[in-house]
Every structure is written in structure tokens, then in C-alpha cells.
Symmetry: C2
């Protein structure tokens, strides 16, 4: 009997049961689906519980609040995406790393529509995430890539990494959003086109 007044797990990093892990994983999974389907505003505790086949109270037994569930789901998606893109980017350097960033991001999001919808929702949605911090981190990462390509002499000297990063991220996001709105949109071709444009615009002399 630890002096743990909290009814929900959460406290003092107890070992975490098998059932606990399984339920958490399941709840995160269904929450991703629910947010992808109904949007942030349409994601209620009741809906998550129903999708998981348990009661609202059971959900709140595993997570302290509804927001905690959504945030965990969001973090899960972000981690998965970051790992995927990170692997692709780390395998190259210079301008090739920037190209890999564009292509892997588009590829990942094409292959994981639910994740994509959740992230797109989350970018606009207020509740769920560290939003602007995430975005700033992403910009810095890309700016780092651009800066490296510039330092390697592959990009022109007058390229401004921060601004370029904002533009690249915006272009990639637009390609992803477009493919969500119009499934017939050829994302791979669009990614190729973007890479070509970046090469012509940034490479050089």
C-alpha cells in the first residue's frame, strides 16, 4: 500500500502490467483511428471507449484524462514518423539528405493514411499537442540539413536555411494534404517534381 492516492496507474513508474501495456497500446491505436476519422473535435471519450470495446471509466483507469490518451496517440504517431524519416535522412548527406527528407516524408504519409490525418488534424487542433514546438523543431532540423548542404558547397552561398526550411516543409505538407483530399494525386511524382525544383533553385555554382 504505497501512499499513492492516484487511482490511475501513472504514478512512481511501477513495473506496468501485461494487461496494462496491451490496453494502453490498444487505446492508442483506436484513438489514432478515431481522430483520423472524426477529427479532433469529434473525438470524445465515449467514442474512444466504444471503439476499444470498453467503458469510458475503463479508459480513464488507464489514462488520467481524455487529453492524455489523445496526446499519447499523437506522440506515438510522431515517434514512428520521426524514426522512419530519420533513418532515411541519416543514411545520406548534403543535398541528397534534403531529397531523402522530402521523399521519405511523402512516402511515409502515403503509406499511413490514419497517421497522416491525425497529424494534419493535430497541426490545426488546439487540444492535443506541443504543436508550435514540434513545428519549430522540424524547421530547425530541415534548416540544419540545408545548412549542411550549403556548407558542402552543393547549395549556393546565398541560400537562407531558415526560410528555405519553411518553404520546403510547406511544400511537402501541401503535397500530403492534397493526396488526402484527392487520392488520385500522384504523390511520388509530386515529390520528384519538388526535389527537381529544389535542385534547380538551390544547387549551384
Amino acid at each position: 500500500m504505497p501512499p499513492d492516492s492516484t487511482p490511475a496507474r501513472a504514478r512512481a513508474t511501477r513495473p506496468l502490467t501485461i494487461t496494462e501495456r496491451a490496453r494502453r497500446a490498444q487505446l492508442i491505436g483506436v484513438t489514432i483511428e478515431v481522430v483520423a476519422r472524426y477529427g479532433h473535435a469529434g473525438t470524445s471519450l465515449a467514442r474512444i471507449a466504444e471503439a476499444a470495446g470498453i467503458s469510458k471509466a475503463a479508459v480513464l483507469y488507464h489514462f488520467p484524462t481524455k487529453d492524455a490518451v489523445v496526446q499519447a496517440a499523437y506522440a506515438s504517431v510522431l515517434e514512428s514518423l520521426t524514426e522512419y524519416v530519420g533513418a532515411a535522412v541519416d543514411a545520406r548527406s548534403g543535398a541528397a539528405a534534403v531529397d531523402a527528407y522530402v521523399r521519405s516524408l511523402v512516402a511515409y504519409l502515403r503509406d499511413h493514411p490514419a497517421h497522416t490525418r491525425m497529424i494534419v488534424e493535430g497541426l490545426g487542433g488546439a487540444t492535443g499537442s506541443a504543436d508550435s514546438a514540434d513545428q519549430a523543431g522540424r524547421r530547425e532540423a530541415v534548416a540544419g540539413l540545408v545548412g549542411a548542404a550549403k556548407a558542402a558547397g552543393e547549395y549556393r552561398a546565398d541560400v537562407e536555411p531558415q526560410i528555405t526550411a519553411v518553404i520546403i516543409n510547406g511544400a511537402v505538407d501541401a503535397i500530403v494534404s492534397e493526396s488526402l483530399a484527392d487520392p488520385a494525386f500522384d504523390t511520388a511524382r509530386a515529390a520528384d517534381e519538388l526535389v527537381t525544383m529544389l535542385d534547380r533553385a538551390l544547387a549551384g555554382k
Copy 2:
């Protein structure tokens, strides 16, 4: 006594009173502010009414539903923006029109922060708008501009208008969003940078 069961104005295009016009305009104005400040999810009928200094019922006297108020506000912003950008674009042709599109859009949104926040909110928000239709229209418009520049021989022959339009819109939106998150961000410089990049990437041989 026309067979008009609807309590709210709305029906049969009656002349529309002075007070009516004034209240409508006021409600649209405060709704833009409220959405800009609290987001789509945080915009309740009560909040709109309070901001306008009248009761909820009074708001619903002038508009049939809450969504109608939000939609009217959204349409108002869109119309204003479209007019501004349209004027700038129509004054040029070819590649210069594309440049004007980028610059005027960034300029307008820099000068109207509340409008900007409402639009950015609206793009992600489910309730308010014809969202995807608006986006598609916007893409077509820009694709038309790109196509014209291409036909005029200012852009390379292998430029794909649709994909290019998606990329341009994404880049512009990213610049705008960035300036919202970081007021110190130099949007005019970013717009210049983007225009330069587009010139290098698309202009052609």
C-alpha cells in the same frame, strides 16, 4: 403574412432592414475576432453573443444557426482576400502574375492577422466551410497562372501546372503560418526568397 414559418429573416430575400444589415456586419466582425482568438472549437454561440453585447437568442434571430454565422464570417474573409489578391494578379501576366500572387497573398495576410488566423483555423476545422472545394478552386486558379506563364514561354515546357500549384500554395501557406507562430519572421523577405526560387526552378531555357 407570407407563408414564411421561419422566424429568422433568411427567407424570400426581403429588403433587409438597416438594423439588420448593421447587426449582421457586427456579428460577422466579432465572429472573425472570436475564431481568431479562441479557434474553431472554442467558438461558442455564447461567446459570439457576449462579444457582440447581445443575447444568444438575438444572434439566432439574425442567423438561422451558429454555423451560419461562422460560415458567413468565413465567406466574408475569403471574399475580401480574394478581391485583394485578384486585383494584384489581374494587373500582371505570365510569370509576373505568379510572383504577384505570392507577394500579395503574403502581404494581405501579414496585414490582417485576425483574418489569417481564421483562415488557418478554417482549413483544418471541420464545421465551418467548403474547405476542400475552396482549396481545389485555389489550386486550379494558381495552376491557370502557371499554365499561362508556361504558354507565354516564360516557364519551361516540362513544368506541370497542377503539381507546381500545390507546391506554391503550400510554400505560401507555410510562410504565413510561420509568421503567425513567430511574429519576428520576415514574411516579405521570405516571399522574395520564394519568388526567386520559383524563378530559378521554373523559368526557362
